[in-house]
Amino acid sequence: MNAPARPDQSPLLDIAALTLRLPAPKHGKGRELLHGVDLTVAEGETVGLVGESGSGKSLTARSVLGLLPPRADVSGTVRLDRTDVLTAGRAQLKRLRLSAAAMIFQDPRAGINPMRTIGDHLTESLRLGEGRPRAEARARALELLEAVRLPDGEHHLRQYPHEFSGGMLQRVMIAGALAGSPRLLVCDEPTTALDVTTQAQILDVLAEQRDRRGMGMLFITHDLTLASAFCDRVYVMKEGAVVEQGTASRVLRRPEHPYTQWLVAATPTIEVNGDEPGSDGSGERGSGERGSGERGSGAPAPVLEVHDLAKTYQVRGRGPVRAVAGATIAVPAGEALGVVGESGSGKSTLARMIVGLEQPDSGSVSIAGVAQTGTPRTRAERLTHARLIQLVFQDPYLSLDPRISVGRAVEDALRLHHPGLGTTEARSQVLGLLGQVGLVDAHAQALPRTLSGGQRQRVAIARALAIEPAVLVMDEATSALDVSVQAQVLDVVSAIRRDRGLTVLFISHNLGVVRTVCERTVVMRSGEIVESGRTVDLLTDPHHPYTRLLLDSVPRAEPDRVA
């Protein structure tokens, strides 16, 4: 599958002592973003570059194609096909970009000009860069589309990016990159923004193309498991430096550097290993309907009951879209239920209906025995409703009011529900709540923009807890966070569940995360719940074909591969 690097052949890509420093703005200090990075990729080899945000992996990748910021102060060498990219002249750089290496980026919607056709995107470099005639470029474009499994080439060439789905667009981006038959393909988080099933398709396409062309690949990702599954060798980066490297399976299974060990421990996997909540065997499986009478005696009554919830949207120009249909769930007190699905599954709409941000077309929601009917009108109704259920949102950046200090945000929520609270009492309670989520007193005066994503999410949790709801809904609350930060926030959630016996509804697309948090899980697809049951059972013995597809699509590190 991969040609091992022959000792006498110089590597395809050889990065040595790459250091990048941002020059100091007039009043500040310069920052060093890359510290002496060493990295090689041999002909036909697939190398993974793993790191969290701020690790410098993207910058390193960009250096290969000479896309570093012009103001940056760079030293070291980046040898691509024996030419140093950093010192190459404009003509040399052009030649390298046309035929030696190409790059695919994370967000194909941002990377392809929305105002030009797909055909234009694919043939542009051929026509204007290499000077090939239009007909030849067009024929090549059709070949490429075929290669990335988009057979309706003639039609696609005339279409615009907004007419494609994310997965299809990423394949177009890959096709465009392959136009010049590059020997090295740099992939910058190409599947991070995609659903897991779409990701599997894209990885298939990439694998097929690299095998057929014998391309070398530099694969950037934050997902260590994915890197181990897809790549031969892996580098791990942290804060601008390489901390570990080795064969993919070795790094994953026997990490040496403390950071890598920490990363491996924090990365959620779907392998059942006994540390799941509810591993004591409570609960049973079913698909769809679930009544509270099915459980054995002594089980707590459901705190959250949803029966046959449905919602359909009218989308301009596309007719009715069924977001949720016939959703029925029941969550006993103190338990966490996971809702898993890809984009378009309706899981977020379901969450919003349960919380009351949207009204269902039909069906019922009942929290702590109280049926939820319509939007609360009076102040009393609003407050009562809020005390039943709270929500933590996905976006840590926009879910806090930017103008208000986080302490005040929590205090506002507190005071709304306890109007008679004195100032000192309120302040101390706020500090107490912040402490419970792992923040210190100093954080109380901070504005959201000075805090990290993980810290902001913890504030959001503290704010929700201030109201002491019966149910806490977390809508992809950790999806936008780095792996290690995510682990911290999930720890906080576990601790809170233990201390308060909180009931949690956990929405996520990530089965690995759900495994560590939820005793039971439901799987949604196209608005319907296709399977439900104990998380562990779902993972080890899925019944519904879609569940099986989801599980199969998750990258698994294979046992030790031949280097």
Binding site: L22, P25, K26, H27, L33, E52, S53, G54, S55, G56, S58, L59, A61, R62, P69, R71, A72, Q106, D188, E189, T192, H222, V355, G356, L357, R379, R382, L383, H385, A386, R387, I389, Q390, L391, F393, Q394, Y397, L398, S399, L400, D401, P402, R403, I404, D412, A413, L416, H417, P448, R449, S452, G453, G454, A460, R463, I467, A480, L481, D482, V485
Partner: protein, 288 residues
């Protein structure tokens, strides 16, 4: 900061090293302050009465007696400039305050409620946008007679759609943000969220834009006076002064026209510099 979405590389590449000229801003503020003070304290500062005619000083050149010279009727240019600052600054101030207040209220309601109210207001604004503000001012004069009263009222109405549109846009964006939904879920009422939380978040941006409008209004009201439709001669107003001074230009007497012209330009530049600096500073405070 750990945010997986925008990679560090992209952030680095997109960051622009923008150090707006603090010096320029300070100068602009000083200039505007001087003009405002001159307007307020005119009777105490001006060396002459602005209407005092002196035929021995017709078209006098700058001298210790007349620092900026004198016009066709021997009236001291400097004194007229000082008194002229009053109408030059007061009119725009009134227009900006009135249009901002009206615009914010309408924009908040339209942006927050949406629906038919928003659609109706949008239609009304569409119609108003078709009428350039100077045109509305001229129409007002045609209907109600010359002077500053009619144009000021008319322009207040003419500028509110701009303020309203901006406000509406900002409010609608904020409304779609999770923190607003979060407030709802916590149990706050819609009105409270709109007025106590969303409005303060958008008001600075709208205010900065309104500062820029001040410059446009200043120029337009002066232009109106220049055309003889606003402040009427022999009152001292920069636009009216230029109007009166036109006759002397053919004869080579530029000063009575150039001085007020330069003053208008300086005032507008100062206001624009302040407005842009404010917009930049406030723009930089929006969430990541």
């Amino acid at each position: 900061m750990s945010a997986p979405t925008p990679t560090l590389a992209l952030k680095v590449m997109r960051s622009t090293v923008r150090r707006p000229a603090r010096v320029g801003f300070t100068i602009a503020v000083v200039v505007l302050a001087v003009m405002a003070l001159a307007a307020v304290f005119a009777p105490f500062i001006a060396p002459y009465d602005p209407d005092q005619v002196d035929f021995s000083a017709v078209y006098a050149s700058p001298s210790p007696a007349h620092w900026l010279g004198a016009d066709a009727l021997g009236r001291d240019t400097l004194s007229r400039m000082i008194y002229g600052a009053r109408t030059a600054l007061l009119g725009p101030l009134l227009v900006v305050i009135a249009s901002t207040l009206l615009g914010i209220v309408l924009g908040l309601v339209a942006g927050w409620r949406g629906g038919w109210l928003d659609a109706t207001l949008a239609r009304i604004f569409d119609v108003l946008f078709a009428f350039p503000s100077l045109l509305i001012a001229i129409m007002a004069v045609a209907l109600f007679g010359k002077g500053l009263v009619a144009p000021v009222i008319a322009m207040s109405i003419a500028y509110s759609p701009f303020v309203a549109r901006l406000t509406r846009q900002l409010v609608a964006t904020e409304r779609s943000r999770p923190y607003v939904s979060a407030y709802r879920v916590q149990g706050f009422s819609g009105a409270w969220i709109a007025v106590r939380r969303v409005l303060p978040n958008v008001a600075p941006t709208v205010g900065a834009q309104s500062t820029l409008n001040f410059g446009y209004v200043l120029a337009e009201l002066a232009a109106l006076s220049f055309l003889g439709l606003g402040v009427q001669a022999p009152l001292a107003d920069w636009g009216a002064m230029i109007n009166e001074a036109q006759a002397g230009i053919a004869g080579g007497y530029f000063l009575p026209a150039i001085v007020p012209a330069v003053a208008v330009v300086i005032a507008v530049v100062a206001v624009n510099v302040i407005g842009e600096e404010l917009s930049d500073r406030i723009g930089g405070r929006t969430p990541a």
